[in-house]
Amino acid sequence: MQLDNATLLAAIERRFPGAILAHSEPHGMLTLETTREQIIDLLQFVKDDPEIEAIFLTSLCGMHYPDHAGKELGVVYHLHSFVQNLRFRIKIFFPVDDPHVPTATTVWPTANWMERQEYDFFGIIFTGHPDLRRILNVDDLDVFPMRKEYRLEDGTRTDKDDRFFGRKGHEGREFD
């Protein structure tokens, strides 16, 4: 069976009724949103299902939206079915106060370093991860630098203020 976005979505909804909170197709790539409670079952399903066979975890990355109350942090899984040549992504969101996500290392060993990286930069705690340590930053760093509240450079600089260019700055990047 030739798999496309619609049949893939239908197959997932059949197996996990109500688990897909939102779906869209930006630039042709099916994008699903689900919950962290169901993410691992869902990943395991799309990997093992003989009609989907999304055996390849292309990338895993974190996101931070400080203004989305209760859904500040997120993780995006990019998956690829080689047999069907179909790519799609799955997103989950969760509060910054409780940044726990079950680990995907049980599904793909390659998630190991990817998750360490997102822990390092966003402080997302992947529960069940075999070796959750910082990977690119120094071990004694006490911040999570990719979160939006951490500035890139000296906060007293004003010459790069977006307001001077008639735009609102990024979320979390207010200048004082």
């Binding site: 790539m29 990338s59 996101m63 931070h64 977006d162 260019f165 735009r167």
Partner: protein, 402 residues
């Protein structure tokens, strides 16, 4: 098999193992890599890679830079084939803004990307030669790489970190000097390359050193997220250029070489050798079938107008200012684009909130992902095989550490 049984009987050796720090600045590792090895004599019992020595916060930097200023960051990922990274990024932005390039510009990109793939593979394969003790091929192939860099210089003015091309096309048309250099290269290189190939391919010493060093099965490679020549060496014919063609790769006739399935150093070497020949084929076809047309798309919001126009026309001056200050409208959206880089699938996941900078930009860096299989690949091997396995995986420190 022999190695595995050797270790199952020695699992309780902990007190008798010695620790060896390989790197971070060991000349044999070709970059800043540290591995803490637990050794039983000359055999590796376990390895613990430490990475991040040259981490430069690219993802954070990218959130604070306008789109056209991110290109120089991508240079510094896999710096052995910067043009592929540059163009991968340009194509990502073009996908977001919905910009279709003229065929000529796409073909020009293909030529540059394949030249850089050749340069990347030449470095990797000749370094495998060095690590097995054959320095000669390396010196000769670096001369060829120099010719490729001279061509890049002719197109964009720089050599290693190229910043080549622009969002919306190439910065200028190929000059007659470039065409002359490319023609000379295409005529002279194949023979010299085959000479290099003859030096190593069936060389008894080289084969004995490479066959069986750092093997990985196709199943494990897929589970570890391998892409590029390393994955193809295990026998999986996955190539982004064919699976999700970009920049008109569907127009070209080329084959995807795969290894014998051992996934060892020799397979990786052979796959890269054949890919160089295939790249030459692609360049040849691109040159022969180069369509007429413009070398850039008509996207004045992103593409700098020509200098004479800027000095004489008001509109061009306005656009020049807007492009330099990045005061151009960017659609809200998210896009994932990937290209076949020198060492695997190089992906860009871009989230735009309509601001001057990306809201989030994630680089899928192939060697960051596959380097984590390194300890498994060298478990039970000799120390010298570990060096060989690392250089044949084409791990580039700049890309590894972002």
């Amino acid at each position: 098999m022999q190695v595995q049984s050797y270790f199952s009987s020695l699992d309780n050796l902990d007190g008798e193992l010695s620790t060896l720090n390989l790197g971070p600045t060991h000349p044999a590792t070709h970059g800043v890599f540290q591995n803490v090895l637990k050794m039983d004599g000359e055999r590796i019992h376990s390895a613990e890679p430490t990475i991040g020595y040259i981490h430069r916060a690219f993802e954070k930097l990218a959130e604070h830079r306008p789109y056209n200023q991110i290109t120089p960051i991508t240079d510094r990922l896999n710096y052995c084939s910067s043009p592929i990274n540059n163009m991968g990024w340009h194509m990502t932005v073009e996908k977001l803004i919905g910009c279709e390039l003229p065929k000529r510009a796409q073909y020009m990109r293909v030529i540059i990307m394949e030249l850089s793939r050749i340069a990347d593979h030449l470095v990797c394969n000749s370094v495998i030669g060095v690590d097995t003790g054959a320095l000669t091929g390396f010196t000769y192939m670096f001369q060829e790489r120099e010719l490729i860099y001279e061509m890049f210089e002719e197109v964009c003015g720089s050599r290693l970190t190229t910043n080549i091309g622009r969002i919306g096309g190439m910065e200028r048309d190929f000059t007659p000097a470039f065409h002359a250099k490319l023609k000379a290269f295409m005529q002279g290189f194949p023979a010299r390359f085959e000479e290099f190939n003859n030096l190593l391919e069936r060389n008894r010493i080289f084969m004995d050193r490479c066959i069986g060093a750092g093997p990985i099965s196709a199943e494990r490679a897929l589970a570890y997220g391998f892409t590029g020549p390393n994955l193809r060496a295990t026998g999986v014919d996955y190539d982004v250029r064919v699976m999700t063609p970009y920049s008109s790769y569907e127009d070209f006739d080329f084959i995807i070489p795969v290894g014998s399935g051992q996934g060892d150093t020799y397979d990786r070497f052979m796959v890269r050798q054949e890919e160089i020949r295939q790249s030459l084929r692609i360049i040849d076809q691109a040159c022969k079938n180069m369509p007429e047309g413009n070398y850039h798309a008509d996207v004045p919001d992103f593409y700098l107008p020509s200098k004479p126009d800027v000095y004489t026309k008001m509109e061009a001056l306005i656009y020049h200012f807007k492009v330099v200050m990045s005061e151009t409208p960017i659609p809200v959206g998210e896009v994932y684009h990937c290209v076949e880089g020198g060492n695997g699938e190089l992906g860009f996941y871009l989230i735009s909130d309509g601001g001057r900078h990306p809201y989030r930009l994630h680089f899928r860096r192939p060697c960051f992902i596959y380097y984590q299989a390194f300890p498994e690949m060298i478990k039970g091997a000799m120390l010298s095989d570990a060096i060989l396995a690392m250089s044949s995986m084409n791990v580039i420190a700049g890309e590894l550490d972002a």
